[in-house]
């Protein structure tokens, strides 16, 4: 069964889109990530124009994050104060990101920048995760290995910055500039890459801000809702590339898949799971790297600037 997507201006197989949503939903349920970093490249691979894939990806993440944040809210695992500071930064970042997107699009460099962002960020994060999970798997096999319990977090020059704020839930007393900056940086990326940015936000919160792991996912989901909502509204206003029909189909498949994934994830070994996710993230980044360095079949490409109305 095919459906004509009126914003993407193409016919797409309904079951393929539902399946894509469900597959990424299963993955996000298992690993606890949004899956936007796989959604956007896969949509582009299916023939959806990259601008539509990015804008629609942001819209879809609004829905999946709302669905995901509820469970964390009930358990009280959201640091709202930290969330608000992050999202103030995120608003500026994602708004600037949409303008940057439009500017790069006019230069014809948007596809290149999207791919480089993916290669760099997925490569770094996939690599780090892989190293860490391999190390843990190896360590758990060595008998009697001691895991030393360190301080809550390290103090460095970042803690000398002004405008200190107290975040009770996260047990932190740090400069507001830090979460503002993290929020802004992730906001820019979410607008350009069409992702929620959870996969960058979560490590940044743990390692850079020093937040306790328990509140990290809930807080990151909480602020992702607002940042992606902002990106969606700006993309709709500036580029008219938000395809609501496509987003709804992806959400429909996604929420069902996520429920399934949560159940599968509960039965699997955590460290192996992390290794698996790392392998997947690395595979996507290597594939995109190849796209950049291998000579394309046709070095010329076309883009329609003004559509007849």
């Amino acid at each position: 069964m095919y459906i004509y997507l009126s914003i993407a201006e193409m016919a797409a197989n309904v079951f393929l889109i539902l399946g894509l949503g469900a597959g990424i939903g299963v993955m996000s349920g298992i690993f606890g990530v949004g899956g936007g970093f796989l959604m956007t490249p896969l949509l582009i691979f299916l023939g959806v124009p990259s601008a539509v894939a990015v804008a629609t990806g942001a819209n879809q993440i609004v829905g999946s994050s709302v669905s995901g944040v509820m469970a964390h809210w009930r358990r009280g695992n959201i640091d709202f104060k930290m969330g608000f500071v992050l999202l103030v930064g995120g608003f500026f970042g994602s708004t600037g990101g949409v303008f940057l997107f439009k500017y790069l699009q006019s230069l014809g460099q948007i596809d290149f920048v999207i791919k480089v962002c993916y290669v760099v960020f997925l490569g770094i994060i996939g690599g780090l995760m892989m190293v860490e999970s391999l190390r843990t798997i190896f360590r758990s096999r060595v008998k009697g290995a001691r895991v030393s319990r360190g301080k809550l977090h390290q103090h460095n020059w970042l803690h000398g910055l002004p405008f200190k704020m107290r975040f009770r839930k996260s047990k932190l007393y740090i400069s507001a500039i830090l979460p503002l900056g993290v929020g802004a940086a992730v906001g820019v990326l979410s607008a350009i890459m069409g992702v929620g940015g959870g996969f960058i936000m979560v490590p940044a919160m743990i390692y850079l801000l020093g937040m306790p792991t328990i509140v990290v996912i809930g807080t990151s989901l909480f602020q992702i809702i607002f940042v992606t909502a902002n990106a969606t509204i700006f993309q709709a206003t500036l580029t008219q590339t938000v395809d609501v029909e496509l987003a709804l189909l992806l959400l429909l498949g996604g929420v069902i898949g996520a429920q399934l994934g949560t159940k599968i994830g509960a039965k699997l070994n955590g460290e192996q799971l992390r290794g698996l996710l790392a392998a997947m993230v690395l595979a996507v980044s290597i594939k995109l790297l190849f796209d950049l360095v291998i000579e394309p079949a046709d070095v010329y490409s076309i883009r329609v600037l003004s559509k007849p109305f």
Binding site: Y2, I3, Y4, L5, S6, I7, E9, M10, A11, N59, Q60, V62, G63, S64, S65, V66, S67, G68, M70, A71, G108, Q109, D111, F112, I225, A229, T232, I233, F234, Q235, A236, T237, L238, Q240, V242, V244, E245, A247, L248, L251, L252, V255, Q259, L292, V293, I294, E295, P296, D298, V299, Y300, S301, I302, R303, V304, L305, S306, K307, P308, F309
Partner: protein, 249 residues
Amino acid sequence: MRAILFLLITASLALAGGAARAVPLIADIDRHLVAITTDFTGSELLIFGSIDLEDEDDAEIVVVVFGPNEEVVVRRKDRVAGMWINQAAMTFSRVPAFYHAATSNPEGVTLPATARARHQIGTDNIRMRGPEDAPEDSVEVFKEALLRNKIAIGHYVSDRGLIERRGKLFRTSVAIPSNVPVGTYTVETLLIANRQIIGAQTTPLFVSKVGVGAQIYRFAHVEPLIFGIVAVLIAVAAGLGANYMFRKV
């Protein structure tokens, strides 16, 4: 079904033509509106007609379909620091968004080159406005790349011998892919005999979005801010709904 329709209409055209004997060429499309609805996956048009000549066997028929004009930028990737990055770019305006040419002669149209160029027969003869300040040979290279890309996505088609003929009657089908732009298309039918055009007919064809999809598209372009807010609200509602549903289970 369509074949019967075709036979009926062409038969009546042939009869009418025989009675009047004034117009050598009569052509029409099976419909003048291609409606892009939610279940649109592309469409096939039937262009048919009849010719009225003393020796119709020597006559050739050419059908050319043009889409509305658009502005297209062509970019060339070059290797920079090991990566392929868009470098040179050229913008062409008045580029037909869609082009389809069909001829009845498998050996090619017997018209002289100037006439073929004038009537834009064959993808090489498609007219568009390139940049005026750029050197002509590089414009030519970029134009060729544009044609190549358009052919690859199925928006430009040029085929010989695609027009079926049965005596005075002829017919051909034009495939409209699902990703064509909306707008007013023109269908030009030419009748050629002795290397000369002796009859021509132009018929308009409308391609437009219809129904829910059309309203969504219009909403997104007329009220983009409200559209964005609605898109967010729909996503939020879907997320809350999913959460509510699965909590009960």
